[in-house]
Symmetry: C2
Subunit: 414 residues, 2 copies
Amino acid sequence: MASQPIKKSAQASAEGGLFDSNIDYPNFGFEVTHQDKNSGARVGKLKTPHGTIETPNYIFCGTKASIKNVSPVQMKEAQTDIILANTYHLMIQPGADLVERMGGLHKFMNWNGPMLTDSGGFQVFSMGHGTCADEIKGRNTSKSKESLMKITEEGAIFKSYHDGAKLMLNPEISMDLQRKLGADLIMQMDECTAYQVTKDYTAKSMEMSMRWGDRSLTAFEKTHDGRQGLYGIIQGGVHHDLRKISADYVASRPFFGTAVGGCLGGSDEEMYGILEAIQPLNHPDRPIHFLGIGRIKDVFESVKYGIDTFDCVMPTRIARHGMALIRGVKNERINLVNSKFKDDPEPLDASMDIPCSRDYSKAYIHHLFKAGEMLGYQIVSQHNVAVINRLMREVREAIKNGTLDALRKEWLPE
Amino acid sequence: MASQPIKKSAQASAEGGLFDSNIDYPNFGFEVTHQDKNSGARVGKLKTPHGTIETPNYIFCGTKASIKNVSPVQMKEAQTDIILANTYHLMIQPGADLVERMGGLHKFMNWNGPMLTDSGGFQVFSMGHGTCADEIKGRNTSKSKESLMKITEEGAIFKSYHDGAKLMLNPEISMDLQRKLGADLIMQMDECTAYQVTKDYTAKSMEMSMRWGDRSLTAFEKTHDGRQGLYGIIQGGVHHDLRKISADYVASRPFFGTAVGGCLGGSDEEMYGILEAIQPLNHPDRPIHFLGIGRIKDVFESVKYGIDTFDCVMPTRIARHGMALIRGVKNERINLVNSKFKDDPEPLDASMDIPCSRDYSKAYIHHLFKAGEMLGYQIVSQHNVAVINRLMREVREAIKNGTLDALRKEWLPE
């Protein structure tokens, strides 16, 4: 059983803090089993009611309660440990009440392993401003979908992309939705600020996210029955001073886990700089999740700052465009639509013990994409998932053996 | 080893017949192991270089060298025995030469069981006139794609749907393409006439198809190396007298198998009437394939006239629209997009030992289709394939036990 006490020293830093009690997380736990000597990298065990996973690990995005064109059977075959679904999408279709009536997300999706949901806030804000990835990566975009109608202290009002209905999301509603969905790991409600906003706006938003964190905890505590572990989210944009205040806040509250969210800047250096800045302030006994980030390069860099779990749509999203993740090639991936693969008889990776990687020639997969056959997408998606899971297994071994830099060179040659 | 002699008595009926020699089909065979007492229904063994299958059986359409969104692994899991691919599509993308260089269709697709290709003619003609299904079923259509440019005694000239290039298909080219593709069972080149043409046109076309049959045999014999078995195709539209001439021709020539093609009329009765008319004329020692037909009802009706194999895109095509084949429901299928399945916790068929049929609720699959998730299509496609394979297993058992009518009532309640 994990119990997350309030760090009294840090608590005072959260202005307007409302929350002042302890929360037990029975059936949950996090144990660091190996700590790297030369960096913050660590191997751990993250225990949930649906099983214990080794960390660092990768949480695959089953946005609308489905990993895109990869079945749960195929996810297991690709040695997947944990997946996530998005509260925002599910509140619109099919609705959290229906998922609850069907026995919760695990049963609904037929996934019996650990699972995470986000608060829904991220999509509300990012779809209001532009795309999700644009927000995290700090890319400005003019294509506002204008689905976000209003943000107040109370919460966010937005329009459903499904039928235009006016919907509200706030900490209490998010906790209720996530309780009904029933994932093991859940997220506090926060505001995800855009790259282009001022520091002043980012600061005010971060402070509101802290108050929303306390409201999330209060709502969570009321119905908490030991089935879920709540993560607090560190905001603060690209500003280290703000990030530190937010990290201090999250560590001071009885969250089960720590998540790093929000805008992470316009360059890799800016992103990793944020991780470095908050690292000393993160609660030492809690798992740390990096929201929405997960290129192979990001995994190698971020584990050094103590990141335990990642999530990103990248593995299945790039598969849709014919891009396969390959160990040891430049830029992590190859584009199978490229005509140079037209008559390439070699499989994606003969060393992998899974049909999608081992049994189809690149020529065949190239043909499937040229012919518009969905099987191509299915094969490459499952392959990409299997590659990432292999990456995470190898990263864990390398941390244990102190060979992370050597492993990185194998995966990402200069 | 199967050897298909010329039936001398019938040979004279083929006007302008060119072909007058015997062809051996080493590595092929067809044996009727059980003959129904009350109908033409029979159980048999069809031997090919890639394995022996029991008949009646169903050949699933892998049009562009891929069963739509169902992998070979999943096809095997659904207990599939045999699949086909379409020469017309493959000659356009990726080209038969490339498939040959990649080791042939079996290796290219990673399917190690028996496989069939058609001549390519059907799609040339049907895409010239309208859709394939419209042609077979006798539905008139005004949406001519005008891809067919010219039909002469020499062959058909048509435009590639890929890049508009002018292409030729004739018996010699079709045999060459099918040899390169390398399927076990291949088809003679024929002309597939439309429903609306006159009897005179149908007769002239059928006579040309007979001459094309002989040209196919001549071309086939030149490079025949024992890897492929050639089917002749019975044409003649809805006219029983023409069908009988064509059936007599096919039986008179040393084809390995008999196929029933062309326009089959506007009603089920007309279609089954054609099967009844030709049944006494079909070569008794050869497998009979019914081209492009394969509803559950068709299977029950057609096996009574000695049909041994079926093919139809129906199982995977209807899956794309959310329709699942279900044993024992009206109209053979349910539409999972229908809102009545929104909160149906039951699986598609709990009695089937395969995850797609057993492990997902209808509510979940309904959600996947509402949310536009391809996993829904994947699940229902594999389910439909598994249902058809179960149907064929049960049909074979019922023929052996003389219980075909009782089985039909279980599958298709009035």
